[in-house]
Amino acid sequence: MVSIDVHNASVDFPIFDAKTRSLKKAVLGKVGGKIGTEARVPIIEALHDITLSLRDGDRVALVGHNGAGKSTLLRLLSGIYEPTRGTSEIKGKIAPVFDLAVGMDPEISGMENIFIRGLFLGMTRKQMQERVEDISHFTELGDYLHLPLRTYSTGMRVRLALGVVTSIDPEILLLDEGIGAVDAAFMAKARDRLVDLVRRSGMLVFASHSDELLFELCNTAIWMDEGRIKMHGDLREVLTAYKGRDPLEQMSPETLERLGETR
């Protein structure tokens, strides 16, 4: 049973500047007594009072303006951040695809990066060995896999990251925006694979600004605004409220047909 339950969770970031992040301030601050608000570290409330319950089969789109807390929410759901207040309970094997540059070493080959990614996602070397061919086939990178990652284009990195993540059968897939950097042909392929993956296993939370992709992969949506959940419900309703217009209006008839949606 795959599930995510977040209850009244808040994520507060302490902002240390060069001065507060030193012992001097902590020590002297105590000795010298309180100096107004100076002693306190300023805090950014990135997420505020999030209550969320996701179950098997939920495919959630995450929308909102820049800085609304989408990425932070994804990190909360992945368990990277534990809530500073409230609780979060995550059951399932998580595979996050956030920043494509991170966790990838530019100096080593794509192949070695596949292994490291896989190990981070809880696989063993042997299990990854079995998947290498599949990944290589899916990413279409061929001999490029033996070249250092720094020679890759952004799109090729996206291919690699998606290839690894989709090969390991995760139960909770967390995707941050940025996977749009690949070409249309590969996108179609990736979409099929993602749709298939989501159908087979658990849960998807996907932050993106592309309506088309969201309609393709998701069925519900969360609208984040200033660190709070402003709206959570049917994808089309939420997107309509967020954009102020029906997102399907703008799409071509072919796209609509593929999505199986009607205006």
């Binding site: 240390f16 990277i80 995550i90």
Partner: protein
Amino acid sequence: MPLGEPPVVSTTVQVTSAIDIPASPVVHSGRSWARAAKDIRDGVAARELWGHLGWQDIKQRYRRSVIGPLWITMSMGVTAAGLGLLYSQLFGIAVNTFLPYLTVGFIVWGFILGCLTEGSDAFISNEGLIKHLPAPLTVYALRTVWRQTLMMLHNMLVYAVVLALFFGSIAAGGYTLSPNGAPQPGLSWTMVLAIPAFVVLALNGAWVALLFGIISTRYRDIPQVINALTQLLFYATPIVWPVDVLTQKLGPGDWKHLIVELNPLYHFVQILRAPLIGSEQSWHHWVVVGVITVVGWSLAFLAMRNYRARVSYWV
């Protein structure tokens, strides 16, 4: 995931390596001993991961150089040979016993220094990974210690060469490390004590990386403090000078012996160096090291309990 496998449970700290563990759901209630222990357990279990990362670090450092990681060996060899020749002349000590002493001292020191300085950097240098991939924090501490271990193994080649060259001198009992110094027993079966000694050293490296790593992530001055102190500690620890010198200058029982006895690093160096060069081993080094191991791990565990979940906020 194939059918029939138990459902996988992961918590915020632990997503990797638990494929087969159907643990009960964990509610994130922040600080708990169980969560800290779980992090350490899962971290240790992910040995393929930190093993791979640590090895990658070494390869990375010497990428595109012709002899690669052998540079570690080379630089140690050159330093040990040069300083060995120089100091044996300065102190008037026979080079064939002093050079092995100095070489092994350097190798052990290199490991300790690495665990201290790179250990305190363990989380800061892995900022990107910590913020983007959920994995036990312990993985990064073990990555650091493993990297140091691999470097030490490279350096052991220098030891092998030194041993081959000067075996006759240090295998024979009764050699001294300084003129009129205490006679040393010479190499014997006690050499196997080097193995538990190293294990204990690595064990200490792990808590240092966890504890100092957490503190340093919060207070960025700590790595600088450690850097400043290690320089001093190097000269205060009997590595380029034998302890005999102190005994001779001060006479036995002088309070100034505390200079070495109160230096914890001296005891760590000694438990590994003594068996490798067949010098006299005192059991009290093991006692001191044992106490430090227990106290250190307790502190590290406490830090893990209270601040493990904060590290991803602080990096």
